[in-house]
Subunit: 197 residues, 2 copies
């Protein structure tokens, strides 16, 4: 296999990159100053060498404790539980959440062999227990999918007995969308969760 | 800058990859077995180390002469002139062209400082001249853009005196398209170039 085909195949393994896009990327790198390809290759290598999971929350980090967990200004009494580190990023970028996170590493999916032991649930319970009542609220921010919901229900059952308030992200109409295009169950949730103006 | 931000920035420099897609790619690599990222990084490095321009036609190659120029079954009496190595690939994959190629490395664009000296035109003329009449046809397959057309007109002027037939790719309605969506100038070209059935 030629090296061009080889790089094309490697690019094709990335999500959302088909063989056509992969080819375009490879030819782009070949046409560009070689520094660009070298910088890309080097940064990908160091990504794998340097990034690890935060010992506390499971978020990606370059040290044993991630920037968020290490930040004394964050409110450690609130833990927002998410499925993946990508979700940490999404929520953190809103600038509207000053608490800490806990990354589960997926959602409960018995058919795929993912039970509570496969997720970072024990570590979450230990965080709550070891806080000695300082964790006042756990926000369940798993996805609004069947698995995400099941995971939230399970977590509520095991966290509430430990004391903290357990909340779930609001469901409703996305900002900027049009009622015409909102599906029925979202609309039903929006009605159910309606608020005084 | 964190290494995650660094790789995201490098990915964003690729064509068609915005910051959002770049972030998704980085998090995908972090979630995948580390081999995937390592293979990608390694293949990108060897791409730059091993791929060079073919001495004859300018196509990308892993040796001094590319696979096409080195293939004795190819018809060296026909040269298809293209702007980029990517175009070589596109035409070659049709399986309908048994001749050879010549990569210009762009198209004439005086405003951007690209004149005949900046393209591999001298090498093309030398190929034709040195063939001693064996090159019978030069197909101009530059893009149907203003620059591509200007380049084709210029090339015709310098190649025809050397003897070979000079042809241009047909313009017309793309296969599988709908007349309704074909722009006026393409339709005009299709009328102009109409053929007996």
């Amino acid at each position: 296999m030629s090296v061009i085909d080889e790089v094309t195949r490697e690019f094709s393994r990335l999500p959302g990159v088909g063989p056509r896009t992969a080819t375009r990327l490879v030819y782009h790198l070949l046409r560009s100053p070689s520094e660009q390809a070298r910088d890309l290759a080097r940064s990908i290598s160091s990504l794998i060498d340097r990034v690890r999971a935060c010992d506390v929350c499971g978020n990606f980090s370059e040290s044993t404790t991630c920037d968020i967990c290490a930040d004394a200004r964050r409110d450690a009494s609130v833990i927002c539980v998410v499925e993946s580190a990508f979700d940490v990023r999404s929520i953190d970028r809103t600038g509207q959440f000053a608490g800490t996170f806990h990354v589960l590493g997926g959602s409960l999916s018995p058919l795929d062999g993912v039970g509570p032991e496969q997720l970072r649930i024990a570590a979450l319970l230990e965080r709550v227990r070891e806080s000695d009542g300082r964790v006042r609220e756990v926000i369940l921010a798993t996805n609004p999918s069947v698995e995400g919901e099941a995971t939230a229900v399970y977590l509520e059952g095991v966290i509430r007995p430990l004391g903290p308030r357990v909340t779930r992200l609001a469901r409703g109409i996305p900002v900027g969308s049009d009622l015409e295009f909102v599906d029925g169950s979202t609309l039903a949730e929006a009605l159910f969760g309606r608020r005084e103006m």
